[in-house]
């Protein structure tokens, strides 16, 4: 959430605006920092191929898959899965949590921090809060 205040505003006015906007940001901290840009980019690179450009589990690869990819926009389905399990399934793959082998392990491609950010992003996508 970046706002460009322009170059020619008087300093006083500028600081007043900055103060105002930081108060606003503090008020909606949860929404403003729901996910990182990196998580979005990682999702678009690695996840979209199966989970879909609309995050609905209907990716370009899903047509012929014997087990359909998880619909990340499904608040109920996603809401039932704890964060820890989502982290594990991304890092170690579907088999690690008794799910499909078609979900591969991404632990060699993304580090733990990136995967944690991705978990937060998934919570944003499903609008299903954060389950420990």
């Amino acid at each position: 959430m970046k706002t460009n205040f322009g170059q020619r505003l008087p300093l006083l006015l500028k600081s007043a605006l900055l103060l105002g906007s930081s108060l606003m940001l503090a008020g909606q901290a949860g929404a403003a920092e729901a996910y990182t840009e990196r998580a979005l980019r990682n999702y678009d690179t690695y996840c979209v191929q199966c989970h879909g450009i609309n995050r609905n589990g209907r990716g370009i690869n899903s047509r012929d898959m014997s087990v359909q990819p998880r619909d990340h926009s499904d608040a109920k389905g996603m809401g039932d899965i704890p964060n820890e399990e989502i982290f594990r399934v991304i890092k170690e793959g579907g088999l690690a949590v008794n799910k499909s082998v078609l979900m591969p392990a991404w632990g060699n491609v993304m580090n733990d921090e990136e995967i944690r950010e991705l978990v937060a992003y998934l919570r944003f996508v499903c609008k299903c809060g954060s389950t420990n």
Partner: protein, 228 residues
Amino acid sequence: MNLRLMAALGAALMAGPALAAGGAEILKSQCVSCHAVEKPANTSFERLWERKGPDLYYAGSKFNKAWLEKWLQNPERIRPAGELYSRHVKGSDKEDVVDESTMTPHVKLSKADAEAVAAELMKLAAPEGMVEKGAFKGEKVSMSMGAMFFNKLRGCAACHSAKAGTGGASGPELYTAGERLQSDYIYSYIKNPQKIDPHVWMPTLNLAEPDLQRLTGYILQLSASEGK
């Protein structure tokens, strides 16, 4: 000797060396805007999104020359959803589909130019250690066993097509891979795709040696049975 003849002779002399260096010239004039023919200094995640085509700086350790010659004269899409796929897919009322309006046809070359470019590309050896020379042992693989690993046990079919018209679309078709690619390249890529192509969207699965041999063999044999 009249002036016109001298001019013609001069032009022919100038054209001579240009023709001999044809492959390198074409590479420079037609390929580098989309493909890296030298190892890029920047191998960042962002670069993966910015580049227009696969890197070719290790083409000599990747491709089979005969395939290059053939394909460059008649370039057909290898990656059903292009590169990088996310830039070429769109939602539909069912599965995502390829947005054909975003796809551009590949440059098509004459036979002579294709042969010259293929020869030039074959000079581009992979940096030391990128492709494991002699890694594939060349053992014949049972196709039914190979298919079981490819489709069910290791999940390759999620992203790759082992038969025209079926399978995943975000990875290159593999029923032509044996004709296209060198066996050690296939082996090395399956083992660690990011070592060859940093940040690429194929996972590194920590596959054991027998799996690597079996999948490489299966993919090579597929080309003979399913490829053209």
